[in-house]
Symmetry: C2
Subunit: 335 residues, 2 copies
């Protein structure tokens, strides 16, 4: 496959160089090139928001570092957890004395490294609490929800927590808001092609022409079912048939809807799916109150889409409407 890279072993370094020069409001940690923080991070008395994860999901995770969203991010290799040291350095970069909310996705490597980092941080007097996102409804049954992976629902968790921190919330309040946000969020993806880690040079999974993987994970993890491709309206139905009963979402609910391409899916096709999802929600009596469409959380050049629904209440709605600015999400603007 033809790519826009230099050395395939240095794609993360080379990407970070580009992000830092393009966004002067983002800064690399003085003693860790794999930690990036916002220029306004570590405000005295304000809870710091940290996340981290493997690269290759851009704009996640680094693209959600910004004003009133994430303060600092630990950057991993492609599809690999950041090190414990990087999580620790991200805590240091984000801590303004009021503690750090580390909000990340449920993957074995991240769980292990965050735990180690917290132990080290405690020795330095940095208080860290975590929320582990598990919004991927396809990744385990409901009665094993603790096994589910975190995917694009993390964006909602970061946005809500960033807003609560900006509003002066305590660490416990920020954690409670982030936990609540992810608890009422469900995501599902459909994969239409594989993707290739540059340094590996070939994909570790395949999706045939004419087939799709319903419930695929963000690293090609197996989903619920491989089946023949169907029109967009049937994709929407498959996805919502899984998501709606899972929470459940019910008539009268107001929701946030994030519809993301997985990397190579044209925006045109994302909006085609959006129309179908919106139709089903309207028929179900569920109102879309906040939404975003685009490449919000990707898997390199995978073809495919994800849908993320969050059941809103007054506090979540207010947090989503709170102004913020980052590569991946901006709320507010001209008026």
């Amino acid at each position: 496959m033809n790519r826009v890279i230099n050395n395939p072993d240095l794609v993360v370094e080379d990407m970070l160089r580009g992000i830092l020069v393009a966004h002067p409001e983002l800064r690399v940690s003085a003693d860790n090139p794999r930690v990036v923080h916002h220029v306004g991070a570590a405000q005295k008395g304000r809870v710091g928001i940290v996340t981290g994860g493997g690269s290759g999901h851009e704009p996640a995770f680094i693209g959600y570092v910004g004003q009133n969203v994430v303060d600092a991010v630990a950057v991993g290799e492609i599809f690999s957890s950041p090190t414990a040291k990087s999580f620790l350095d991200a805590f240091r970069a984000a801590d303004g004395g009021a503690g750090v909310a580390c909000l990340y996705g449920n993957y074995a490597g991240d769980n292990m490294n965050v735990k180690m980092a917290i132990k080290m941080a405690e020795r330095e007097g940095i208080r860290v609490r975590t929320v582990v996102a598990n919004d991927d409804a396809a990744s385990a049954p409901l009665d094993e929800i603790e096994k589910r992976r975190g995917v694009a629902g993390e964006i909602v968790m970061w946005k809500v927590a960033g807003a609560r921190a900006a509003q002066g919330g305590s660490l416990d309040e920020v954690i409670e808001a982030a936990q609540h946000a992810i608890d009422v969020t469900r995501s599902i993806g459909i994969g239409l092609s594989a993707c290739t880690i540059p340094a590996v040079g070939k994909s570790n999974f395949t999706i045939k022409d004419g087939e799709m993987e319903v419930g695929i994970g963000h690293h090609g993890e197996p989903g619920i079912e491989v089946q023949s491709t169907v029109p967009a309206r049937d994709m929407a139905k498959l996805m919502l048939d899984k998501l709606l009963p899972d929470l459940p979402f019910a008539r009268g609910d107001k929701v946030s809807l994030l519809l993301s391409g997985l990397g190579a899916t044209p925006l045109m096709e994302q909006y085609i799916l959006y129309a179908e999802v919106a139709d089903i929600l309207r028929e179900a009596g569920i109102e879309i109150q906040f939404s975003r469409v685009g490449n919000l959380y990707t898997s390199l050049e995978m073809m495919g889409v994800t849908v993320t629904l969050t059941k809103l209440d007054a506090e979540l709605s207010a947090c989503l409407a709170h102004p913020c600015h980052s590569i991946g999400i901006t709320v507010g603007g001209a008026s």
Copy 2:
């Protein structure tokens, strides 16, 4: 190829349905489903900004309809000009009595249809002036600049004109600003894969694995040269070696830099190229004062990238900094 569509002949209709439900600030024209305007269009006494073009380039063109950018857009079939009637209806939707600036790209179909639409508009007393973007430096020699195509430089033209209109500029002032913006703008693309119109089902051109097309057009039009793929830093050099002498851009210049993926190129790779472009500009003594990275102007699921440079002066800088809000570009936000 696996896609997220319903009927391949109705992808534009289906996309528009999604865009309109996702963005309530956008409205379809009452008597033309292929014209979309901003809810604030046709403000009395304010110059209306219109564009139009084929679909498949999302977020262009429709994604630049918004507050203080484009007021109304004529939407064509994939890679095909909108009809003259659609351009006329877009003029009607945007006209608030102060005239309409129709700012579009240099393609035969668009030229013909805009001309016909203007004749019809004049009979209704709508004053329309045009600027025809020709920023694609690879599409014809400098001494035949009038033959060059319009590409992502149109975004700069729209942004600048939208700002001048918002500032109360007259039609002549808006046109002058838009013409100046495109006159000091140069773009070039590199194609790394072909793309496929859904209703056609196969590409009308090919790019082999291990080869790239330097100077490719947004519909797969032949570029300057097909050659073996090179690292990102050499891609950057190839592109800037063409762009910098063409205007020319010189030491001490301040520029706007738009770096766009063509659809399937991961954001990671776009930032890798950004770092290389920024290096060359810095070495050349050229300062990046405004920039955007992402899928700004695409060609369905083509792999590849485009670089657009604009030489800034005080007026252009002020116009780019003017707050605006649309799917494709937002300036301002949290603070």
